[in-house]
Amino acid sequence: MRKLALSDEILLKVEKPARYIGNEVNSVMKDKEKVDIRFAMCFPDVYEIGMSHLGIQILYDMFNRREDVWCERVYSPWTDLDKIMREEKIPLFALESQDPIKEFDFLGITLQYEMCYTNILQILDLSQIPLFAKDRSEEDPIVIGGGPCAVNPEPIADFFDLFYVGEGETQYDALLEAYKENRRCGGSRKDFLQMAAKIEGIYVPQFYDAVYNEDGTLKSFVPNDPHAKEKIRRQVVVDMDKVSYPTKPVVPFIKVTQDRVVLEVMRGCIRGCRFCQAGMIYRPTREKNLETLKKYASEMLKSTGHEEISLSSLSSSDFSELKGIVTYLIDEFKGKGINISLPSLRIDAFSLDVMSKVQDIRKSSLTFAPEAGSQRMRNVINKGLTEEMILEGAGKAFEGGWNKVKLYFMLGLPTETEEDMKEIPRLADKVARRYYEIPKDKRNGKCQITFSTSFFIPKPFTPFQWAKMYTMDEYIHRAHVVNQEMKEQLNRKSLKYNWHEADVTVLEGVFARGDRRTSKVLLEAYRLGCLFDSWSEQFDNKKWMQAFENTGTDIAFYTMRERGKKELFPWDFIDAGVTKSFLYREWERAMRGEVTPNCREKCSACGAMCYEGGVCFEGKN
């Protein structure tokens, strides 16, 4: 029987011990003596969040298909266990073998959101691995970062030996082969990093020097090692049907956020919303083949026993085979007690028909993401959804029996005026009015319009990467403007308004566009006890403010400046396909309120065609 890293006493003392024991259906056990490379794959948040992430399941499966690699999982111990592990000096361990992470060859950490950065330090600390890459010895694992935040890795650059920039399916084999080759030749850690630095998509931070201007902006960013490339090209899978997919994903014992089969139908998005980082960095849009998807769906439902399946993509309505896959899932699995969880779809006859088949109309709600209240603002952000489309969609749904609608908006967008803010509750009210146009005897009681706002955060590799943010007080003020205006609406009793926290927004803004110097704030915040910052009950803004003060770091420098056209950004050394000149053109068009057509309507020469695949070549072969 497997021996666990934690004693019976500890496991019975902590909340949800199932987070730490492994043994799940489809988890992979191997003989550690028979593999060459041991890879610990980490999501730096609690188990239930980490286990819901598709990317790790893809890489876990891909690595374990290799006979010479054993990939295991590790997540952040929750605060109760964190405390015990520190007190008793128990090293952090991997779920499968229960062996300490420090004995592994690699520790790969996925970077999904900025507010998990202190948890990266927790993972390293509990693993007893030196926090700074420069302090690590030949015995320590190679620490790799990857995932969406790796397009600006600078705030955490000092803590990583290397970053894999882009989609994992393309270069990991080369990296693992380089590791084996280096070990065969008796090479050192540095020798390996030099070999890795030559591989496409791999960035080794210690081989680069950042120099700053007197005003604090970046002056230059150049390699200091002959093996390092000047530009790191973000990796992209060209043909989605030629890569592996985890048909036997790990099935957790405890309920996790995403407790279902997830079928990824495409990558990328044709829409080009100017605030959306995913919509820019995952270009070009690449679809999977319908027959492949059908095969995956059956295999995954069989191998997991899950009772639900959902589709994953950035914008499922744009998937050419949407009708085919949804119809297949309903016909094939609905009768077998499998729930089909639909992504938010553009409302039309087809989507209303399938929704009424798979959801209980009385309980389910419709979701729209207009993102901005006024048409002017929607033009600025290039969100192609108009008021007419929303009201028409909502109207059709209301007539079909629905009476709940959710609307998502952003506040603090570039050029936003008070009028734009007030248009948010007004739009919600118009949706409610549309409902009450239906004769009383044909509608289903009152309607419920829930609208939420999050605060906009400019992200690297988007047209808004030049934009300024606002202070915390200003964000709160804007939410109040919306709230006040809501109270003026005719149907205010059918409206409900939720808004997000403002303090986390400011921090996320700093680290999204931060440079290497911001790493000292992270370290200081961690030392002051910040952890699980994306959990509102754990988040402690006072400690963060203290960390900025202790390190003499000016928040406003990172958040309040509108950047100039010439400014060199900390992430400019990464080539993400979309060019800086395209992004700047889009920034200028935004300022003029000009809409840019989507990829299928007209190519805007964004630069992603360099990957030679996907939507750029649709219908051209």
């Binding site: 497997r2 019975l12 011990p17 199932a18 043994n23 405890i254 899950h306 007690g337």
Partner: protein
């Protein structure tokens, strides 16, 4: 057609709580392709009911749940298919048909359960004389926590049997909806009675079997009420 499944839960699976064990078996039914019946309605769920949920931290050789089948499957095939879908620490022991009437299923028929209390460390020693003098009390009063309050109850009538098995303490106690006695509570009062400094957390607890009572008063393991389904 109703079927009763007996399973063992051991090793690291003792850390999986009852609700998660239910979820685990729902998924296992699909993986094993057991022809289980569903409820009607908009969100159908499997017809499945568990007897006497086992607490987190306990292992067991005799856990049970009942299901409704929409078509027959042989006992042999069902056990094999289920075991192919199990993880380490879960093993299906039997799959038998039970009578269709309502009173044959669920908690209602449970009467008693056997447990072993196993000392975690060496040197925690008891004798059969210790147990005999403990059981010779006419009343064993313990504070029982309920959701709203705590009240003093006499657990003596619920302890059917206690004896040493090597260094482990074997006990047969009342179980089910009428009276349900946890072995931890028995050990706690035993330690108190014997003036020992150990606590009930110094033991592992293992359930051996769940019983129903026959009309003649005899106890019978729950799967003894069923019959093998032939292929």
């Amino acid at each position: 057609m109703k079927a009763r499944i007996k399973f063992r839960k051991y090793g690291v699976m003792k850390y999986i709580g009852h609700l998660d064990v239910m979820r685990y078996f729902q998924k296992a039914m699909r993986r094993a392709e057991i022809p289980i019946a569903f409820t009607q309605g908009f969100s159908p769920h499997m017809i499945m009911s568990f007897a006497n949920p086992l607490g987190v931290g306990l292992t067991s050789d005799g856990e049970y749940f009942d299901i409704e089948l929409k078509e027959p499957i042989s006992s042999e095939d069902a056990v094999r298919q289920l075991n192919e879908a199990m993880v380490d620490g879960m093993e299906v022991v039997s799959f038998v048909q039970i009578p269709d009437e309502k009173k044959a299923t669920g908690m209602a028929i449970i009467e008693a359960a056997d447990y072993l209390s196993i000392p975690k460390k060496e040197g925690i020693l008891f004798s059969n004389e210790d147990l005999a003098s403990f059981l010779s009390q006419t009343e064993i009063l313990v504070l029982k926590q309920t959701k709203k309050s705590e009240k003093e109850v006499n657990i003596r009538p619920w302890i059917h049997k206690m004896e040493m098995r090597g260094n482990d303490i074997f006990m047969q106690v009342s179980a089910g909806s009428a009276a349900n006695l946890k072995p931890e509570l028995v050990i706690k009062s035993l330690l108190h009675f014997l003036c020992k400094k150990e606590t009930e957390t110094d033991f592992y607890y293992h359930r051996i079997e769940n019983y129903a009572r026959l009309e003649d008063g005899k106890l019978i393991p729950l799967d003894g009420l069923g019959t093998k389904i032939e292929g």
